[in-house]
């Protein structure tokens, strides 16, 4: 036991708790299995330990020890690869796949969370050693809030208006409002689609959003999330019964055609509203210098 034992213990515990707090199993059902969780808690523990020991190293003027943090960076990049590979492998067996953009977003989040753990442990240990144990607790709580804030992205309901529209056929063409979805030839299939299908129109709230929701990865994420939350009326080998999202080229609206097992309009609207806005899909054309000139984009 020395003067650093308690601060280190404290930092590691707070860091690991932060990781546990950020490791929630939600509707995405991932990570849902125990082993997946164990991996992430263990990595979170390692991250916490790395962040914590940096402070005593600085205090003891062991500056070379800090270089170990670079090791951490490469270690946690591996986490991203691991998550990406696992999810990509699993995706081919999903009835409605997540899509590469969604997977990349999840993988990046897993990597980022470990860095937040390092930061939390670093700050709490620093506060504990320089001020006192109570300061360590305050620093821990503040970091927890910061982590939560940094980890919560935007939701679709923030950027689009969601409207329900009845599906209709014009000849063999399936339409939601004026947006063409696909050609369904067989009358029996058309009846199934009218019976089980639902149509929604996502109306962008501003010009930036048009490009964001046009992203194919973002659209696939919407379809995946609805299918997870409300079930999906399809099986392998029924390509006619596939949820699709198509774009209105005139005004950037997106027509979302889904086949939920639970046909509840309000629930479906709520689910679409809760779909995360994928970081990789966000576009900001209005921020471009060239766009500052001329008329305002709407």
């Amino acid at each position: 036991m020395n003067e650093y034992t308690y601060p280190i213990l404290f930092g590691v515990i707070i860091g690991t708790l932060t990781r546990l707090y950020m490791l929630r199993t939600d509707y995405r059902q991932y990570p849902t299995y125990l082993h997946g969780k164990v991996i992430h808690v263990a990595l979170g523990f390692i991250a916490a330990a790395l962040g914590t020991v940096a402070i005593p190293s600085i205090m003891e003027q062991e500056f070379t020890a800090i270089t170990f943090l670079t090791l951490a960076a490469s270690q946690f990049r591996e986490v991203r690869n691991m998550e990406r590979n696992t999810l990509t492998e699993l995706d081919s067996y999903e009835l409605v796949p997540r899509g590469k953009t969604y997977i990349e977003g999840i993988a990046v989040a897993f990597e980022g969370r470990n860095y937040l753990v390092i930061l939390t442990s670093f700050a709490t240990t620093l506060a504990y050693i320089t001020i006192g144990w109570w300061a360590g607790i305050i620093a821990g709580i503040v970091c927890l809030f910061i982590s939560k804030k940094l980890m919560t992205g935007g939701k679709l309901s923030d950027i689009v208006d969601i409207e329900h529209h009845e599906l209709r056929f014009e000849g063999a063409g399936l339409y939601i409002d004026s947006i063409y979805i696909m050609n369904i030839g067989l009358p029996a299939r058309q009846e199934e689609i009218l019976k089980y299908g639902m149509g929604f129109i996502l109306k962008p709230k501003n010009f930036n959003v048009r490009s964001t929701i046009a992203n194919l990865g973002q659209r696939q994420a919407i379809l995946h999330d609805i299918s997870v939350a409300l079930g999906v009326f399809r099986d392998s080998g029924t390509p006619a019964l596939v949820p699709l999202a198509k774009r209105d080229l005139d005004d950037g609206r997106i027509g979302v055609f889904v086949l939920p097992q639970e046909k509840d309009i309000e629930k479906a609207k709520a689910v679409i509203g809760q779909v995360p806005v994928l970081e990789n899909a966000i576009r900001m054309p209005t921020e471009s210098k060239a766009n500052k000139k001329g008329r305002k984009l709407e």
């Binding site: 000849g171 063999a172 696909m182 050609n183 369904i184 030839g185 067989l186 009358p187 029996a188 299939r189 392998s236 080998g237 029924t238 390509p239 006619a240 596939v242």
Partner: protein, 61 residues
């Protein structure tokens, strides 16, 4: 060319409207055409698209 870009079968009540290397299924009437298109859809894991009232194509997406 991938199989997703290929017309796997043509089902028609008017065989004069279709030609080429694709399998063509001439049918007597509309009911037979729909029956064959439905079976082919299930067998080939494809979608039966209706181009005209007398012509279906089966495509895998």
């Amino acid at each position: 060319m991938t199989i997703e870009k290929y017309i796997l079968a043509v089902v028609t009540t008017n065989p004069q409207k279709a030609a080429g290397s694709t399998a063509i299924f001439p049918c007597e009437n509309r009911a037979e055409m729909e029956l064959i298109a439905a079976s082919l859809e299930a067998i080939l894991d494809g979608i039966a698209h209706r181009l005209t009232e007398e012509l279906y194509i089966i495509v895998k997406h």
